[in-house]
């Protein structure tokens, strides 16, 4: 790949990263709202929805250059998955606090992310 094409691709990736960054507060808000709804009324459907949202962010966070967001979302997803595997019992207060803590971490991590670099590094595949 020549340098001109690479520079153009880096620019376009940076633009996509900016789109992701702009959409991130909405996605975090959606996760928060899903968690609030689940807290009010525990259901397998709502749990699955929250798990799917966190799973999606676990994948896209790293792709767009914020591995901390990806990891925070993955931690949340794994905890939700473990709950779902127990046939979705309403969790006790200790587990609810742990989930709340994971969501708080995700919220803070997302709020603090300030993308400075395009997400992809070079043609050798060391990025994302």
């Amino acid at each position: 790949m020549d340098n001109t094409l690479s520079a153009e691709l880096q620019q376009r990736l940076a633009e996509l990263q900016a789109i992701f960054h702009a959409q991130l507060p909405g996605r975090i808000n959606d996760i928060n709202n899903a968690w609030q709804a689940l807290s009010r009324e525990w259901s397998a459907e709502q749990l699955n929805k929250l798990q799917r949202m966190s799973h999606s962010l676990a994948g896209s966070g790293g792709t767009f250059g914020c591995h901390q967001i990806g990891q925070a979302a993955r931690n949340l997803e794994q905890s939700l998955k473990a709950l779902a595997a127990q046939n979705n019992p309403p969790p006790d207060s200790e587990i609810r606090q742990r989930l709340q803590s994971l969501i708080d971490t995700l919220v803070v991590t997302a709020a603090q992310w300030n993308p400075q670099q395009p997400p992809i590094i070079n043609s050798e595949g060391s990025g994302a």
Binding site: M1, L9, R12, L13, L16, I19, F20, Q23, R52, H55, S56, A58, G59, S60, G61, G62, T63, F64, H67, G70, R74, E77, P119, I120, N122, S123, E124, G125, S126, G127, A128
Partner: protein, 134 residues
């Protein structure tokens, strides 16, 4: 399914619009491939026959039909009955990866986050290996 010897047409099923954009860039601009993006399994099932892809690229966890269920239904269509399939997933458990690899015609599982600069190369490798072994 196309009978050509070179990978060209990808049917990509992904519900996340941001990931769609990066993958499109990775496959079309970096990889020189022709990509049809569908935002749901149902949309892919409706589009598959006309597009006649060489390769199916499927997200795993999606609302409605998930990736494995989408593949199962695509297998019912003559156009995609034997088309090689690759899953892209943020799932990391070996057991989950192994289960995906057991699905008929699955030739690869790519982890998210993926590297846009090498994604097309990964698809080419998996597709070429599937051609050699078939």
């Amino acid at each position: 399914m196309s009978t050509q010897n070179k990978l060209k047409k990808i049917l990509y099923v992904e519900d996340d619009s941001c990931i769609q954009l990066v993958a499109k860039l990775a496959l079309e601009d970096v990889g020189g491939l022709q990509v049809m993006i569908c935002s749901s399994g149902q949309e892919a099932i409706g589009a598959a026959a006309d597009f006649a892809p060489d390769l199916l690229l499927l997200d795993v966890m999606m609302p409605g039909l998930d990736g494995p269920s989408t593949l199962q239904q695509l297998r019912q269509l003559s156009a995609t009955a034997e088309t090689p399939a690759i899953f892209m997933t943020a799932k990391v458990q070996p057991q989950e990866i192994a289960e995906l690899q057991q699905l008929p015609g699955t030739v690869g599982v790519i982890a998210k986050p993926f590297d846009p600069m090498t994604l097309a190369k990964q698809l080419h490798q998996a597709w070429n290996e599937s051609r050699r072994s078939s």
